[in-house]
């Protein structure tokens, strides 16, 4: 048995490793094609990425990305493609920030309230897609993509001076009313004159632990994974598949509501018109790269933060910063291919092993077997 476990671990590591190595090689080719020395660029990125201020930046970025990865992974674990994490996240962050700006309660009450509002709004927005799928059979891929656009339109409608937005006369930027000082989330000083680490990283870690516990240790999680592996078997086993679709959509949306919180509570303290777009899509790539596991997603989120940090530096050094975009795209492609290859190989290998071991057993017990009446 031990041997099997070892091999499975090896296979689990093999896929992301294979993916990243081949992605780097492919990017090297692209770099070479643009006439730049590829390995120098990697050197620049690495050197810059391990600096202390870069590390703080990466941790803070990864906090957001980690939550995005988790939100997507909840859907992935039961074969639901919640492409709408981006819209759910933006809408959740927007209403959370707007609610926070409108209230003046003590931080201990208000911060959880803001988070709750964001999660609720994210969940509600996702539930539209869930309901459509359960009752009308609408593919969640299509409906969530459309809901992304709708979320954007809704925000631009509401984020206007006089509605939920306030125009800053000096910068000419519309944003929600800034959160009161008491509603700023705590930060962890990184020492020296470095920027502090966002305290929300603690919430992200807790969310990861919660994700692991819910999926791996509860009945609900077992049902969810069962639906993901085989809907027909899950149904026959007594899982109410429709209810599971709805609950996991709600969960995924609630998690998506959390994504904007580190930015709102730790950084901008308001929802500005230039609030980051596309984090939800990054979450898809990160969930894929992290194999939908809480630890894997964490590593993927850190890698993503590292790459983006490197991108800034590359631009400074005269490289095209788009090269990092290429690298990220290539990584995702390589990941999908590598995982599938390794999965197939692992399955085949295991079947062979089981076959071989049983053949050995059968040989030993051949005399018994022949006594079984035909």
């Amino acid at each position: 048995m031990k041997k099997f476990d070892k091999e499975r671990m090896l296979l689990a590591v093999a896929a992301p490793l294979l993916a990243i190595v081949s992605a780097f090689l492919l990017t090297a080719l692209v770099l070479a094609a643009t006439g730049k020395a590829p390995f120098e660029a990697f050197g620049v990125m690495f050197e810059y990425g391990v600096k202390s201020d870069s590390q703080v930046y990466i941790l803070n970025k990864a906090t957001t990305y980690y939550l995005a990865g988790l939100a997507v992974a909840i859907g992935f674990r039961m074969n639901l493609f919640n492409i709408g994490v981006d819209g759910q996240y933006r809408l959740g962050a927007f209403f959370g920030a707007a609610a926070g700006g409108a209230m003046g309660l003590p931080g201990l009450v208000q911060i959880p309230l803001i988070i709750l509002v964001a999660m609720l709004v994210g969940a509600m927005w996702a539930s539209i897609a869930g309901l459509l799928k359960v009752y009308r059979g609408v593919s969640e891929v299509i409906s969530t993509i459309m809901l992304n656009s709708l979320a954007g339109i809704l925000i631009s409608y509401l984020l206007v001076d006089g509605r939920l937005g306030v125009l800053d006369k000096q910068t000419n930027i519309v944003a929600t009313k800034a959160l009161p000082e008491s509603s700023h989330f705590f930060t962890i000083p990184a020492g020296g004159d470095l920027d502090p680490i966002w305290g929300f990283i603690v919430v992200a870690v807790l969310a990861g632990v919660g994700f692991w516990f819910l999926l791996g240790r509860t009945r609900f999680g077992f049902d969810l994974r069962a639906v993901g592996r085989s809907e027909s078997a899950a149904e026959a086993s007594g899982v109410n598949v429709k209810r599971m679709v709805l609950s996991s959509m709600l969960l995924s949306g609630a998690m998506a509501g959390l994504i904007g919180m580190p930015t709102v509570l730790n950084d901008t303290h308001q929802f500005t018109a230039d609030f980051p777009v596309g984090v939800g899509f990054t979450g898809i790539a990160i969930a894929l790269l992290g194999r939908n596991s809480p630890v894997g997603i964490a590593l993927a989120a850190l890698l993503w933060g590292f790459l983006e940090r490197g991108a800034n530096r590359l631009e400074f050094e005269g490289y095209d910063k788009e090269i990092v975009g290429v690298m990220q795209g290539v990584i995702v492609l390589c990941v999908v291919i590598a995982y599938e290859l390794v999965r197939r190989y692992g399955l085949k290998r295991q079947q062979q092993k089981v076959g071989a071991e049983l053949a050995a057993q059968a040989k030993a017990a051949k005399s018994d077997k022949q006594e079984v009446p035909a």
């Binding site: 099997f4 240790r217 509860t218 086993s237 077997k369």
Partner: protein
């Protein structure tokens, strides 16, 4: 088989006919044994190999492109032989004329009837130079007149020196067209006969096997306590044409503690729907289902399972296993709310693992461990795991749909023993099977299902597979009076009909 003959291969569902044909056509590799063509041992690695050696196959399900003409279908994939133009057309005409196939090269396939399509399939094979033709249940889709026409074609082929392997379960037809007959049963040849020396009844006996279950399993354990009562069940479904029809209608039955109720029937007559209705996967339109005195008609599937229904589904890959999950997770499936798998909403993986180890030992699941995926086990061992899992929760009622399908002989005997043992302890069993031996051997009561209704009942002590088969085709209804014992004279049964129909029941798809 001899050149220039029609050789028939007959056997029950799952006897191994199709597997044998797949091997002959190079779609599957044999573990042992050799194939000799014209005296030379050949190894067929792929259908292309088989074709190049003059072996062609006409599949039961036609493989034609509907929007192509006959000519286009025939040359598709064989463009190298005679091109796709006039030469090909001439060759098609030539083949068609010499074997009397009457094929029109320019007709669109979608405009052709079933019999014509079949002739196109035959022509396709001949066009590729086949000298040995394998026909997989060619008459299943034809009406009697078309069957006669097909047989004329076959005789034509035979007279030209071609060899035809004819797979069928319709014994009357086999006797009329074949020169030699090989009967296979559970994967081995049980007899080789010539038509002149046999009759349908004898053939049927060879096919289903004459050895009926041993009498010591017959001691009745049936009690008078009702375990499952189904009353007035009706289920309608919309078929592919958008027409609503009843797939289950007026279903009434009772299973007592310690009783095995067997449902016989040609597949697709509502058995699968009945099982799903009892399991709560499908919602019947009307009808009451009572389990051990409690009305469970409205209960969801999970509640029914918790209340003591064990379920061995027909298609274990789709309905009973998470193929890519380890065995111990599969042990949890379907019983996630029950001990030892969970407690108060939380899983207990340790206890589930230990219990899986126990099942693996007690039910002789051949596996190197419980962390391997379910997909890596053989079908028989998967089934043993499923049965072990279901039995571990001490069900009051076990629904067993084709419990030994695709399971090797050793595992089969073991599964039967387990069902018998549980029955002695008061388990009620609803058994659905296409294996008539299994039905007759295990059941205390037999009902026959035909077009969504329970049309007949029979006493498994006296019924023969032939009689049961006859009822399965709708030829008989009411209470079936079987001949008193197995060696009763043949003339107690209406002449050829039952022998002809019995295997048809098990085979029709």
């Amino acid at each position: 088989m001899r050149r220039g003959t029609v050789h028939a291969l007959v056997g029950e569902n799952g006897a191994g006919k199709s597997t044998l044909m797949k091997i002959l056509y190079g779609m599957q590799r044999p573990d042992e044994g050799t194939i000799a063509l014209d005296g030379a041992t050949v190894e067929l690695h792929s259908p292309a190999d088989a074709i190049s050696r003059g072996v062609g196959m006409v599949h039961q399900h036609f493989m034609l492109a509907d929007n192509f003409t006959v000519l286009e279908n025939v040359v598709l994939g064989a463009e190298k032989l005679h091109g796709i133009g006039a030469k090909a057309r001439a060759r098609i005409k030539e083949i068609s004329d010499s074997y009397g196939l009457g094929v029109r090269p320019d007709a669109l396939v979608e405009e052709l009837g079933v019999a014509d399509r079949q002739r196109v399939e035959i022509l396709k094979v001949l066009y590729r130079g086949a000298r040995t033709l394998i026909l997989d249940e060619p008459t299943a889709v034809l009406v009697p007149q078309e069957v006669d026409a097909l047989f004329d074609n076959l005789r034509e082929l035979k007279s030209e020196g071609l060899t035809v392997i004819f797979i069928s379960h319709k014994l009357g037809e086999v006797l009329s067209v074949a020169d030699d007959i090989t009967v296979i049963r559970r994967g081995t040849t049980v007899a080789s006969v010539v038509p002149s020396e046999t009759n349908p009844r004898q053939l049927a006996e060879l096919m289903v096997g004459s050895e009926l279950p041993s009498p010591e399993t017959r001691e009745s354990t049936v009690t008078d306590q009702k375990m499952l009562t189904v009353d007035g069940l009706r289920l309608t479904a919309t078929d592919v044409d958008g027409v609503e029809r009843a797939v289950l209608d007026g279903i009434d039955f009772t299973i007592h503690k310690g009783e095995v109720l067997g449902i016989a029937g040609v597949e697709g007559n509502g058995q699968a729907e009945l099982v799903e209705a009892v399991m709560g996967i499908r919602k019947p339109d009307v009808g009451v289902i009572t389990l051990d005195g409690t009305d469970i008609s409205q209960a969801p599937t999970r509640k029914r399972r918790e209340d003591g229904i064990g379920y061995i589904p027909e298609d274990r890959h789709r309905h009973a296993l998470l193929l890519e999950a380890p065995l111990w997770e599969n042990r949890i499936l379907g019983h996630v709310t029950e001990e030892p798998n969970s407690k108060g909403g939380l899983l207990n993986p340790g206890a589930a693992r230990r219990d899986t180890e126990r099942i693996v030992t007690e039910y002789d699941v051949r596996t190197p461990g419980i962390e391997v995926t379910a997909a890596s086990l053989s079908g028989g061992n998967q089934q043993k795991l499923i049965i072990g899992r279901e039995m571990s929760h001490h069900p009051k009622l076990l629904i067993a749909a084709h419990p030994t399908r695709g399971v090797d002989v050793g595992a089969q005997a073991q599964i039967w023993d387990q069902i018998r043992a549980a029955r002695r302890e008061g388990l009620a069993v609803l058994l659905i099977s296409a294996d008539l031996d299994e039905l007759i051997g295990l059941s205390d009561t037999l009902r026959v299902m035909y077009r969504g209704r329970l049309v007949a009942d029979a006493d498994p002590c006296t019924i023969t597979p032939e009689e049961l088969g006859s009822a399965m085709t709708g030829a008989a209804s009411g209470h079936l009076e079987g001949s008193a014992d197995a060696d009763a004279p043949a003339d107690t049964v209406p002449a050829a009909a039952p022998a002809d129909a019995a295997p048809a029941g098990g085979e029709d798809r």
